[in-house]
């Protein structure tokens, strides 16, 4: 999809006047109101903004879970609006990783099986699947916890399982919507160290929504949303 010899490299994700409207008529709600955004491969971006400013809506569109009402979204140069439901699912399967605020692990299912899930849909052979899932769990520091179910793990450990699940397929873009929202500060910093490591060492592009400036400080770039628009875009602390 990328063209390495192109003099002006294609951004990994690009929003052009993206708008998202929920509802109809008087009851309609413009969650996104003409967003322009461009993120290059390898960046670590934090998204901040007040509640209801459209951060999650933007993440869902970026993650190909949702489509814009108007405007265009290109992933690696490919217009996502033109893809059908299955094609978007394949794009998620092969290029994207998700980490959610609520972890969203399968209950009563071991950490290993949770991490194996995306590989199952990729039809990775059994032995390879086990090996990759174990190695992903090792990367997030959960060696020895493979057989535990989410109920038997702490919040921080559950979020690390979720990160292992997102990175086990080697995605190009990792989307994290308030990944530290449910964690105490120390656990939050552990997660941030993990994401920073993945970004630096494996070159995974990370896009993360957070409320906390101390977490946003890990990112190389911070985008502020307000009322469905990008209000600020620059270095952490708001001083480019």
């Amino acid at each position: 999809m990328t063209e390495p010899h192109d003099p002006a490299p294609v951004p990994l994700v690009e929003f052009r006047q993206v708008a998202k409207v929920y509802g109809l008529g008087a009851a309609s709600m413009r969650a996104l109101d003409g967003v322009d955004l461009s993120i290059a491969a390898g960046e670590f971006v934090a998204v901040m903004g007040p509640s209801g400013s459209g951060k999650s809506t933007a993440m869902n569109i970026l993650g190909c879970l949702d489509t814009p009402t108007s405007g265009s979204y290109r992933f690696s140069g490919v217009p996502v609006e033109g893809l059908d439901r299955d094609q978007r699912a394949l794009l998620r399967r092969n290029h994207l990783g998700f980490v959610f605020q609520g972890f969203n692990l399968l209950n009563r299912t071991s950490a290993l099986e949770n991490v194996e899930l995306p590989l199952l849909y990729r039809r990775t052979p059994r032995a390879e699947r086990h090996a990759q899932a174990r190695s992903a769990l090792a990367q997030v520091g959960l060696t020895g916890w493979e057989g535990h179910t989410p109920g038997e793990l702490s919040g921080g450990q559950q979020q690390r399982v979720a990160i292992a699940r997102a990175l086990v397929t080697g995605p190009r873009l990792l989307l994290a919507d308030e990944p530290t929202g449910n964690l105490d500060s120390a656990r939050g910093h552990e997660i941030m160290d993990l994401l920073t490591g993945l970004n630096r060492e494996r070159g995974i592009t990370v896009l993360m929504v957070t409320h906390e400036p101390e977490m946003a400080a890990y990112a190389g770039r911070v985008i502020h949303f307000r009322d469905g628009r990008v209000a600020e875009d620059g270095r952490p602390g708001g001083h480019p």
Partner: protein, 401 residues
Amino acid sequence: MLGNALLLALREIRRNVLRSVLTILGIVIGVAAVIVMVTLGDGATLAVTSNIQSLGSNLLMIRPGQRMGPVSGSGGSPFRLDDVAAVGRDIPAVQAVAPAATQSMTAVAGNANWSASVTGTDNRFFEVRNWTFAAGRPFTEAEVRSGRAVCVIGATVQKELFGLQDPLGQKIRLKQVSCEVVGLLQAKGQSTMGTDQDDIIVMPLRTYHRRLAGNRNVSLIQVTVREGESTEEAKGAIERLMRKRRHIDAHEQDDFNVRDMKEVANMLTGTTKVLTELLSAVAAVSLLVGGIGIMNIMLVSVTERTREIGIRLAIGALEREVLMQFLVEAVALSSLGGVLGIVLALGASVQLADLLEVPFIFNPRIVVIAFLFSAAVGVIFGYFPARRAARLDPIEALRRE
């Protein structure tokens, strides 16, 4: 993909064992009921046919009265002794003729009394009915000719009147007649009509006429047809002869009937078949109800697992993969129900066949059909819930807690 879906389905069933078992109960009962019905029906059919074969397939029975289905109708004067003689004399295809007159009567022996069917006939009666002796002997020529008070009894009469005692040489009193038991018949069991064939006292026809009936009527003529002769043709010849002897005009109906035991066999097995099919159809309805039970529980399951489905979709599961997962789960459930139903049915069939005294016949075809049917129930009733799961919006699904 199918392997994975099966793995997931089995995990899900294991996770909710009690609920799964309750869900498939309808299918279990439906499958079991169908198989039991068919198995017992097959057994009953076989019992009927072998029972009739034991009577001899070349046996014709001539009775007064118009024919009505498998039983004789009323009306029509009884036969006379010269009718019997004419059948034996004028129809070459006939091998043996046994006249009989029957009446139900109270028999007394010592303190015991018992109501039995008393038949007056001769030794050919035992021949045409393929009836052998357990003890004693048939009548002698002299006993038949002079109408002596002797009798041969069936196993039921022996049991009721004499218990464990040896009946030979004992006296049985019928009305004012005291007759001596000279023979005991081998037990034959129930007839095709469900009457006890062993509840019988046989005596010479002459004795019966003179001392019990007070008339010379014959109520049944049994005829065996010679080997190699057509029973159809013999039947036709007998009908023509009897019409002539009974002065029946061309436009009048027969006031007697000649029955070929083969025909009776076909009629009865036909009836058994229809009955089996009817009961199986009723049983199949419970399979349908079982299917609705599966659909219900699958819909509940989809609602409960909305978040799980959201996770799968977000991770990149295709619509058809989620559909397949839930469909396989429904089919796995219903097939499990089918297998349990088959096991239950075979156990119950063996027990019931024993109880109803019909042979147990294992019918692999109905087992396979029942299994495939239960799997099909899973596909049909699992499809709607599975499609609902597959079409969920991942964002909506993830938001659900």
